[in-house]
């Protein structure tokens, strides 16, 4: 095949896909701000996306906090480590690792589940059936998932932050023989409200990305079981990449000054 044709094909596909995704996102936002909302479904999705992701986020945060404490201790100034470890664990978890790892974990779990569920509904004509029953599929399927993810991700990440800091505390006090009172004091003294809120704002955006990508891939899946599998993989990959990219943009916006 002509190399120019290949490049042209890639460009057209990329532009086409970006356009479709933008239109999909815009339609989702338009339906979110336009009542009515299905609150019962939003509650159900909050349980699925938030509550059921709690164990995986809690475990990830706990071990990340612990590993962070060890790395700072072994890699840094061990004589002055008691204050540094507590501070960097708290800042690292609340500003970056909590939201990013929490987002990636939920992307792997919830985005895949959303894409698989909606993809199966698409290929078995259940989404068409919704339309014939005078129910807007966007309002019924997409909006509850997006709203639930935007609300629950910050809550999930907040719990993850607490557990991550606790992980650092456990390793610091049990393995590195830090004084527990001093560790807690250092954590509280150096941690600012902005550190926590910036992480929570980030996680809310990550929640939006996770739900929109899961819904988008599921909505546009085709070709039976293989298509649903492809949609699931794409949902996880694209939402993970977008989370990392959005994290960079938001970090530079929040902390550049």
């Amino acid at each position: 095949m002509n190399p120019l044709a290949i490049i042209g094909n890639v460009v057209i596909t990329t532009v086409n896909e970006t356009g479709r995704l933008s239109l999909f996102t815009w339609t989702a936002i338009a339906h979110i701000v336009r009542p009515p909302l299905y609150w019962r479904l939003i509650g159900q999705q909050m349980m699925r996306i938030g509550y059921f992701s709690l164990p995986v986020v809690a475990l990830t945060s706990f071990f990340t906090g612990g590993v962070l404490a060890l790395q700072i201790y072994y890699g840094g100034d061990q004589f002055n480590s008691e204050s540094i470890v507590a501070t960097i664990v708290a800042l690292g978890i609340t500003r970056e690792l909590g939201p990013v790892l929490g987002g990636l974990m939920v992307a792997g779990r919830a985005s895949a589940a959303i894409a698989a569920e909606l993809g199966t509904m698409r290929v078995t004509e259940q989404i068409d059936a919704l339309t014939t029953l005078a129910t807007n599929p966007f309002k019924y399927l997409v909006v509850p998932r997006v709203v639930a993810a935007v609300i629950t991700l910050p809550a999930l990440v907040f719990v993850g932050d607490v557990i991550g800091i606790f992980g650092g505390f456990v390793v610091g006090t049990q393995s590195l023989d830090f004084n527990s009172g001093v560790y807690v004091k250092n954590t509280v003294d150096f941690l600012d409200t902005d550190d926590i809120t910036s992480g929570l704002i980030k996680s809310s955006i990550f929640g939006f990305i996770i739900a929109v990508m899961g819904c988008y891939q599921g909505f546009h899946s085709k070709g039976g079981a293989q298509g649903v599998g492809r949609a699931t993989t794409n949902a996880v990959v694209t939402s993970s990449i977008l989370i990392l990219a959005a994290n960079y943009v938001m970090t530079s916006l929040f902390f550049s000054s």
Binding site: T124, Q126, T132
Partner: protein, 263 residues
Amino acid sequence: MSISIPSKDVKIELKKVHKRFGKKIVLHDLSLTIPKGKSLVVIGGSGSGKSVMLKCILGIIRPEKGSIKVDGKDVTRLSGSDREKILTKFGMLFQNAALFDSLPVWENVAFGLIQGRHMKRKDAKEIAMEKLGRVGLTSEVGDLYPAELSGGMQKRVGLARAIATDPEIIFFDEPTTGLDPIMADVINDLIVDSVRDLGATALSITHDMASARKIADYMAMIYKGEIIWAGTREEVDNSGNEYVDQFIHGRADGPIQMDILKP
């Protein structure tokens, strides 16, 4: 080609509807009229454009050209609440029932009442149970999930869902596909009874001639995205159209050639 009926008795009218996917033309200036309160069956082979035609009428697929009128109102460019309003007139039985597998059977049947008509769940459940009874299913089935039902039962639940809102128009997409001959006949009888009881206008697409003969008042044949013949059920055997003759007798030889590789 259209059935000749007075304009006041027309429920749905398609005029020169054109739809293509990429280079493939699926509907080629398709025109068809569906009389009010009658059952029209569109026959045609796989890939002839039957399902796309139904989806165009429902607004799931938007045609590039042509008009589709329901009760005299053009629905091709409707969106949002206007489309939802028109869709409250419709009920549809899908080829594979397309039941919502996350909901119990009764909620599947009551879905259009709860979501489309904003009825209270308790009242909607009562109607759902009554409709399940009308298609020969007991109230115990109402609490099961679709995955726990046989294919025939799923089809009956799909029919109960299609008639739950007492629609003016009911579409049947391959209603007997995948069923044994006895269950297929049971479904055919239920379709005939439901349409008659509701006084609804029915549009069915099928390639099952036994089903078509049983449920049709009128028949039309679609071939390569065009309606090539339309008439009453009785006229189909003397249509004088060689495509129709080949199709209804299921002959491999004739003007319709299948794209198959021969050894």
